[in-house]
C-alpha cells in the first residue's frame, strides 16, 4: 500500500494547500459529481483547509441518491412475490420507498440479498433454479458495463430465472440538464475518475465549450483532490476553459472502448427519472430488444402508484448544489442515517450523510 500512502502524504498535501492559497483570488464554487469524491473530501477534512474563496458543492454523483422513489417502489413490489429473490448493492436496501424499504421487506420475510457484483446475482439464480432472481441494477457508467457483461453471460448459459430491473443513470445528460436549467452557479467541475475511465472526456469537452465551465478529471485520494482543485483554480484565475486529467493513472481522453462496446451491445439509452432532478431525456439505460427476456419490468406486472417525495425534503436542491444539508429543516432533527427521509441521508456517499457523519460545524 505504499502507492496509497503516497497519495495521502502530508508534506505533499501541505505544498498543494499553500499553492492553492497563493493562487486563489476570485470566489468560486466547484462541484464534484461523484459520491466517492464527496466522501473523500469529508473523510480527509479537505473543506476546512481551503481558503474562503473556494466553496465545494456536492452534485448528483451518488447513484443511490438519484434513484427515483418509484424505482425503489417497483423493487419493493417485486420483493413481496414469494418466488422472487431480490439482489442488489448494499446501500439500496435502506433507501426509503413510498411505504417501505427493502430492508423492512426482508425483516417481514422477503428474500432480499446484498451482493458485491452482478455476477453474484447471476450465481444466485444458477443456485436457485426454482426461484426467480431479480437484480436491482443501479449506478452510473462505471457499473453498467459489468452488468451488461452479466446479461451476456446469462444469455450464453441460457438461464431463464434471472432478471434485471435497470435503474442505471448516465452522468453527462444530468449535468447538461442542470446547466440548461440555470439552477447551477458553479465555476468548475471536479469530474469523476471512475466514470471517465469508461466514457472518456468528450462529454466534458462539450460542456466546457458550450457552457464555458472548466473541468478536471480527478482521482479519489486527498492528494488527487487537492491537485485537482489547484488545477481548476489555475484555469479559472487564468481565464481558461479546458478539460484536464489529473487522474492520469486511471483515466484517458478516449475511455474504455471495450467496456462501452459491451454496454452499448446490451443497453440502449432511455428517458429516466432522477430523484431531485425529475425526468431527464436519454439519461438512463434499458435493455435492448435482443435482451428484453431479462427485463424484470416486462416479465412482471410492476405497476406502482405514482411516487411522491416528501414535500419538505430538500434532497433535490442538495443534489443540484443549490442548498446545503444544514438548510433543511429535517437535517439531524428527524432525518438521520438511521431514519432517513430523503436519499441523500441513506447512502454513505450521500451529501447529507457525509455532512452528518464527518462535518464539524
Amino acid at each position: 500500500m505504499k502507492h496509497l500512502s503516497e497519495y495521502r502524504d502530508k508534506h505533499i498535501a501541505k505544498k498543494l494547500i499553500d499553492a492553492i492559497w497563493d493562487l486563489s483570488e476570485t470566489p468560486v464554487r466547484l462541484m464534484e459529481v461523484c459520491g466517492s469524491h464527496t466522501v473523500s473530501i469529508f473523510r480527509h477534512g479537505i473543506r476546512q483547509m481551503l481558503p474562503e474563496t473556494i466553496q465545494l458543492i456536492s452534485g448528483p454523483g451518488c447513484p443511490v441518491c438519484v434513484t427515483a422513489r418509484a424505482e425503489i417502489d417497483r423493487a419493493i413490489v417485486l420483493s413481496s412475490y414469494p418466488e422472487v429473490i431480490i439482489t442488489t448493492f448494499g446501500d439500496m436496501i435502506r433507501v426509503p420507498g413510498s411505504l417501505s424499504t427493502l430492508q423492512k421487506q426482508r425483516a417481514g420475510g422477503a428474500d432480499v440479498r446484498v451482493v458485491y457484483s452482478s455476477f453474484d446475482a447471476l450465481k444466485t439464480a444458477c443456485e436457485n433454479p426454482k426461484k426467480t432472481v431479480v437484480f436491482l441494477a443501479i449506478g452510473f457508467e462505471t457499473t453498467a458495463p459489468a452488468i451488461a457483461a452479466t446479461v451476456l453471460e446469462a444469455k450464453r448459459i441460457k438461464i431463464d430465472n434471472f432478471f434485471i430491473l435497470s435503474a442505471h443513470k448516465l452522468l453527462p445528460p444530468a449535468l447538461t440538464a442542470l446547466l440548461n436549467s440555470d439552477r447551477l452557479n458553479i465555476q468548475g467541475f471536479i469530474y469523476p475518475g471512475h466514470v471517465t475511465t469508461i466514457i472518456g472526456t468528450l462529454a466534458y469537452e462539450q460542456i466546457a465549450q458550450k457552457h464555458g465551465i472548466p473541468g478536471v478529471v480527478c482521482g479519489f485520494e486527498p492528494i488527487d483532490i487537492l491537485e485537482t482543485i489547484f488545477m481548476l483554480i489555475r484555469q479559472i484565475e487564468q481565464g481558461e476553459t479546458t478539460v484536464e486529467i489529473q487522474y492520469k493513472r486511471g483515466a484517458t481522453a478516449t475511455g474504455n472502448l471495450r467496456a462501452t462496446e459491451v454496454l452499448n451491445q446490451v443497453f440502449i439509452t432511455c428517458d429516466s427519472n432522477w430523484r431531485g432532478l425529475g425526468l431527464i431525456p436519454e439519461s438512463g439505460l434499458t435493455l435492448r430488444d435482443e435482451y428484453r427476456s431479462f427485463a424484470a419490468e416486462d416479465y412482471f406486472d410492476l405497476k406502482v402508484q405514482p411516487a411522491k417525495d416528501h414535500p419538505d425534503c430538500v434532497c433535490g436542491e442538495v443534489i443540484c448544489g443549490t442548498k446545503n444539508p444544514a438548510e433543511c429543516r429535517f437535517y439531524r432533527k428527524v432525518c438521520t442515517p438511521q431514519n432517513p427521509i430523503g436519499p441523500c441521508m441513506v447512502s454513505t456517499e450521500g451529501t447529507c450523510a457525509a455532512y452528518y457523519k464527518y462535518y464539524i460545524a
Binding site: 501541505k14 469529508f42 480527509h44 477534512g45 426482508r106
Partner: protein, 336 residues
C-alpha cells in the same frame, strides 16, 4: 422505535442497538449496575468484588483464518471481564446446534475453546446443549458467561475518562471484521488477512502491574474503534481527539478496506483493547504493553479533551479534521 420489526441493524452494535437497549431493555430491566452499560457488571457479593458478563456468538462463517466460533466465544467473554480490570476465572458455555451438524466440526470448535481456555487460564465450569431442527438455527450458536474477581482498589469503567488523559490502543485495527467478510465472500484468499481473536487478560494484568492509574479499558468489537470511542466520550462526558496517522493498521487490511469501500474505524476487533490513562503514565503503560504478545504494536492514538463533550474528532493525516460518529446501519452482520 423507527421500525416495528427487528432488523439486522439492531444487532450491529451501533446506534440502532443502543436504541433497542434504551427503549426496550432498560425501561424493564434497568438498575444501577445495568444502566452503566459497561462490558461487564461489577458488584460486591459476600465480601468479594466480582465482574459478571455474558455474550452470544453467531459468527458466519464458523471457521475463519485466525480462529473459529469457539475461540471467539471464549475470548469475547474473557475480554469483557478483563475490561473491568477483573481476573477472569470461570465461564459457562451454552450451545445451540442445528440438526445435522458434523460431530467432527463440533470437535474442532471444542478443541479451539480448550486451547484458548488454557491460554487464558480459565475454567469452563457449567454448560448446556440444545439441538434444534434443521433450519431453526444456522449450524451452531454459542453463548458464554463468565465471572472474575476485581481487586478492591481497581475502578475501571467507561465513565472514568478525564480531560488530559491519553488514549492507547493495543495494536492494529479492523483485522477481525475484514477477515470475516473476506472469508464469507471468498475474497483475498491468498492474502495474509487473519482475525485478531485473542484473550487479553494477561495483557491487562501486565498493564495493571505497572501500578498506573488506568481509567478506562474497552475492547472495540462490533462497531469498531469509532463506535467504542463514541461510547466512552458519551459515558465520560468528554471529547476525544484521535490522530489518523498514529492508528496502527495492517497494510492488507487497509488494502481490503479500500477495495470494499469499508471504513476500518468501524470494523470489529476481537483481540484489541483501548486504554485511557493519565498522560504522564502513558509511556510506562505502552512499554508494558509492547512487552506482551498481544500488545507489540500498541500505540498512543489520541487525547481526551474537555470541550465538545460526547464528540470524537479525527485529525486526518493531511492536516484536516472531521467528526468520527458512531456506526449507523449494518456495516456487516454476524461478525461475532
Amino acid at each position: 422505535m423507527v421500525s416495528d420489526k427487528i432488523i439486522l441493524d439492531h444487532g450491529s452494535g451501533g446506534r440502532s442497538s443502543q436504541e433497542l437497549i434504551e427503549k426496550l431493555f432498560l425501561p424493564r430491566f434497568g438498575n444501577s449496575l445495568l444502566n452503566e452499560l459497561n462490558d461487564s457488571a461489577v458488584f460486591e457479593l459476600g465480601g468479594a468484588k466480582l465482574a459478571f458478563t455474558t455474550d452470544s456468538f453467531v459468527v458466519d462463517p464458523i471457521f475463519f483464518p485466525g480462529g473459529d466460533i469457539g475461540s471467539l466465544a471464549i475470548c469475547g467473554t474473557v475480554n469483557d471481564l478483563s475490561m473491568r480490570g477483573a481476573r477472569p476465572s470461570y465461564l459457562s458455555v451454552g450451545f445451540i446446534i442445528e440438526e445435522g451438524f458434523l460431530i467432527k466440526e463440533l470437535e474442532q470448535i471444542l478443541f479451539s475453546m480448550e486451547k484458548v481456555a488454557f491460554e487464558a487460564d480459565i475454567q469452563i465450569v457449567t454448560g448446556d446443549t440444545k439441538v434444534v431442527p434443521k433450519g431453526a438455527a444456522d449450524k451452531i450458536f454459542i453463548n458464554t458467561s463468565g465471572i472474575g474477581l476485581v481487586p478492591a482498589n481497581i475502578d475501571i469503567a467507561g465513565q472514568n475518562a478525564r480531560p488530559g488523559d491519553a488514549v492507547l490502543i493495543s495494536g492494529t485495527i479492523a483485522d477481525h471484521g475484514i477477515t470475516i467478510l473476506s472469508a464469507r465472500e471468498g475474497l483475498f484468499l491468498d492474502s495474509p488477512l487473519k482475525s485478531d481473536a485473542s484473550p487479553l487478560n494477561h495483557l491487562v494484568q501486565k498493564m495493571l502491574n505497572t501500578g498506573s492509574e488506568i481509567h478506562v479499558f474497552r475492547d472495540p468489537t462490533r462497531g469498531g474503534l469509532a463506535t467504542t470511542l463514541n461510547e466512552i466520550a458519551i459515558q465520560s462526558q468528554v471529547a476525544i481527539d484521535i490522530y489518523e496517522e498514529a492508528i496502527p493498521i495492517n497494510e492488507s487490511v487497509l488494502a481490503a478496506s479500500e477495495i470494499l469501500g469499508l471504513d476500518p474505524l468501524y470494523m470489529a476487533n476481537e483481540g484489541k483493547l483501548i486504554a485511557i490513562v493519565p498522560q504522564s503514565q502513558a509511556e510506562a503503560v505502552l512499554a508494558a504493553m509492547r512487552e506482551t504478545p498481544y500488545g507489540r504494536q500498541a500505540a498512543l492514538i489520541g487525547q481526551v479533551k474537555e470541550q465538545n463533550p460526547g464528540k470524537v474528532v479525527m485529525h486526518t493525516t493531511i492536516g484536516g479534521k472531521r467528526i468520527i460518529d458512531m456506526l449507523t446501519g449494518e456495516q456487516l452482520p454476524r461478525i461475532c
